[in-house]
Subunit: 518 residues, 2 copies
């Protein structure tokens, strides 16, 4: 490997936001579409999303939950009924008012005034209400419960300030919606979904998260309980990576979801909803990216191994290509991380060094280069994306390995990369969580003076609610801080260390995480 | 199995259209959503679509084509530029004009007049133009070619008269879009996609199709060539099940898709596009449904084998359930049709007979019933959905089979069902294609008097174009007939039997299919 390094123009520590944009572009994940707030997800970015989808969907199906598909358009009446939703997040929405275009007589097109809809339609910001309508039709008796549905779909929330993957007007997501006979069963499903998210995001995306319950002020509108998984990005900010809500009977009441119990009595269902989105891809970038580009964890890499023939427009090229093809074939039977390995032999035209850096920036876990000499020696040159540089001398770290040795060891190598990315992220995160502060001014100062990457602070509190909570939230807002969640694992036997709420001095009942957030 | 038959209310031969609606509902595939022209695809229907998607997507990826995702919204300017598209099909479209809802002061919501978009946005009826924009950005040199993209997405075409799966305002589809350096390469891709569709629809959906080229009047607007696969439904009508277009350089010219060739000259790309949609599910219903409901070919069945314990609220139930669980486990290692078999042990509450008929109507390929006696004898009762009734005596055809024998033979059974459904449909179709007519009045009369299922007629013609073709098309329209396609296999050495065009008496150059169509 040539010693010339084609690093990004922007380093993480210099301008994290600008670095993020550069990775998205350099790794060929996505780009602006020209349509306000909407992005084009390019093949490498969409390939990562397809992997996330597949792995999440397997987990969803394993839980006995079926996918279904509901309409893109939602009648206004559904939003009028769900006043809570409208207050909460749904005012900025794309509204369809016409069903035809006609020529304007000046070479352009306009909505046909004759084709105005009697009732405008809203492009779904979530399918909560329309799935609620279906549940009300489909559920009659206790025999129909639980009803557990999931949908993979695009949704639209008109956003004024957008940022690729993190906040776009249109995004892709999955939304689970379930109805149960009892509070206990619904809570169990709420927690199962959260645990499914934790497992998928940690095991597949290699993103360590903290699972916990959101405080009252951060609850989904109308929810009795909202739980989340929170990931720490490399700049120390939090990214909410998935949420799971227990909606009690309030949503069932609004949508009319009843069942007849075994005694013949009409009862309201207890419902849940839970979702994750393409935002996770933004999280992968901000967790695993480095100053050379993206690093994709093997489980979600569309291709895990790239074979790069070093061609020189010479007669030997044919033999090199044939050798590469043999390497590809010998990898075809290999499984790693529970699946057949995904290998690409990159025969596209172009200079080998440019192609190598292209894959480095995209973050393919393993790049295998093959030149004439490697072929003659029965070797391959192996580059691990997670260890590009030799830390001792700053030179490229490329291992010249016997071909069979490489094939035999590639499963362990991929597993090592997957585990390594997770551990690296977890150690970084753990080092940036400060615990034990008992004075609010210390918290404020740590964020004000703590450099560019202050991380998170975990404090003890008395779990105030209502006006008392609002006052505390205002304090946080003034410092651009937010509550993330109350980690699921309570303190030992549930008794805080010293029993004092950092805000009120009252006896503390739990710990809560505070952070800046995306 | 109880002898009581719970057939559908409507038989195919009495009212095919009504029968179709009843199957959709009885098989729990989909239902009206309450939103004009949009349907809810229920879990069993969506599960079939997911299988179709997976099998088609595997074929798309195997051809080296990557998935990507483009915005839901398309600026008006794209349609103004593509006048051909607008003339062709795209006038009836959902138009977004506002990005916010506000209260109307009367308890309702209205689009906020303050939040009117400067330029309305169209909900994509196809992504042709927005993908064209991306191709124009992404392609610079011959090194960037071929560029081959596919998208799985929802699209909207405002339809006045809708029919579930066959014509709905919103539907799900895949659209392939490719750009090439030469006409030859683009034509090769056009034909590859068509052959991929033929293989997937015949091998996976068990729907026999005829692949061929559309005549000039049926071409996609702007296309140089349009190819299709055509399937015959049980009422003899044709369903266009997939199309593949060679767009020449006209689309590249409109969208500005150029490349620099090896000599440094700017050249226009040759492009293709090809698509299939949820319409295929309608085709599966009308091809394989019978008077008892749907029959799903094993390859696309979400569950291929349903294990039904015959529970009686008695102490033996537990042993029956345990036995069923053992049967399920012994099937877990079995592969059929190239994949692990998909088995569901249906433990939901309800009477066994009702549950059985539920699965018969849904069309699960194999239903396995287990009662106390079966368990004691080490047997299972096997019901093949494709042979529900004993043809000799009209009684239910259920095979009591030793459990190990069933498990050992289930792969062959599923393969037999898959092949049987295809052969049945092909024989029915072939018997309904009339060839050799040389007088147009015979064709007209065969459709007028040919009973309810006239089928297709294949005639020879001189391949007229322009005004001459229009006159012929008018003749067909008067009889509610359409040209389907010119089958890909020409007549032997390319010489028609008697060399006379049925319309003009001129020397014939090819054969073309005529049919009523969906």
């Amino acid at each position: 490997m040539s010693n010339i390094r084609h690093a990004l123009n922007v380093k993480r520590e210099d301008d994290f936001a600008k670095w993020y944009q550069e990775v998205i572009s350099a790794a060929d994940l996505a780009e602006e579409s020209g349509v306000r707030g909407c992005m084009v997800i390019k093949p490498w970015g969409y390939g990562i999303w397809e992997r996330v989808q597949r792995l999440m969907d397997d987990r969803i199906k394993a839980a006995g939950i079926a996918n279904a598909y509901f309409p893109l358009f939602i009648p206004l009446a559904n939003f009028e009924r769900e006043a809570d939703h409208v207050d909460g997040f749904a005012k900025e929405m794309a509204v369809v008012t016409h069903h035809r275009l006609i020529a304007d007589g000046k070479g352009g097109l306009i909505p046909d005034p004759e084709a105005k809809l009697e009732e405008p339609l809203v492009v779904r910001p979530t399918s909560e209400t329309i799935i609620g309508d279906a549940m009300a039709r489909w559920i009659q008796s206790w025999r129909d419960l639980p009803l557990m549905l999931n949908q993979w779909a695009n949704v639209v929330r008109w956003e004024m300030r957008t940022r690729m993957f993190l906040r776009t007007s249109e995004f892709l997501w999955q939304e689970g919606h379930t109805a149960h006979a009892t509070r206990e069963e619904a809570l169990e499903e709420t927690h199962r979904a959260l645990e499914m998210y934790r497992a998928c995001v940690e095991e597949d995306l290699a993103m360590p998260v903290i699972a916990g319950e959101k405080p009252e002020n951060e609850r989904f509108p109308g929810a009795d309980e909202t739980w989340s998984i929170e990931a720490m990005m490399q700049d120390g900010k939090a990214l909410q990576a998935g949420t799971s809500h227990y909606l009690g009977t309030s949503f069932a009441s609004a949508a009319g979801i009843h069942y007849q119990d075994k005694e013949g009595q009409q009862q309201l269902c207890h419902t849940t909803s839970w979702g994750t989105s393409t935002r996770l891809i933004g999280g992968v970038v901000m967790t695993h990216g480095d100053d050379d580009g993206l690093r994709v964890p093997p489980r979600i890499a569309p291709h895990q191994i790239i074979i790069l023939p070093m061609l020189r427009d010479k007669p030997e090229d044919e033999a090199v290509l044939a050798y590469c093809e043999e390497v590809r074939k010998s990898l075809a039977g290999v499984s790693a991380l529970g699946e057949p390995v995904r290998v690409l032999l990159d025969k596209t035209p172009g200079k080998a060094a440019a192609k190598r850096w292209n894959w480095v920036k995209k973050g393919a876990p393993i790049i295998v280069e093959v030149g004439t000499r490697d072929m003659e020696n029965g070797k391959v040159a192996v580059l691990r994306r997670d260890a590009l540089w030799n830390m001792d001398n700053g030179k490229p770290a490329m291992a010249f390995t016997a071909r069979d040795e490489f094939v035999g060891g590639v499963a362990a190598l991929l597993e090592d990369i997957q585990a390594g990315l997770f551990n690296e992220a977890r150690e970084r995160r753990d080092a940036k969580i400060t615990r034990g502060m008992t004075d609010w001014h210390d918290v404020v100062n740590s964020f004000r003076k703590g450099g560019k990457y202050p991380g998170w602070v975990e404090v003890q509190w008395a779990k105030p609610s209502g006006a008392e909570l609002e006052a505390v939230v205002e304090k946080l807002k003034a410092e651009k801080l937010t509550f993330r969640n109350v980690p699921r694992d309570p303190l030992g036997d549930g008794t805080p260390d010293d029993g004092v709420c950092i805000f009120s001095g009252k006896p503390a009942v739990e710990r809560i995480l505070i952070a800046r957030a995306y």
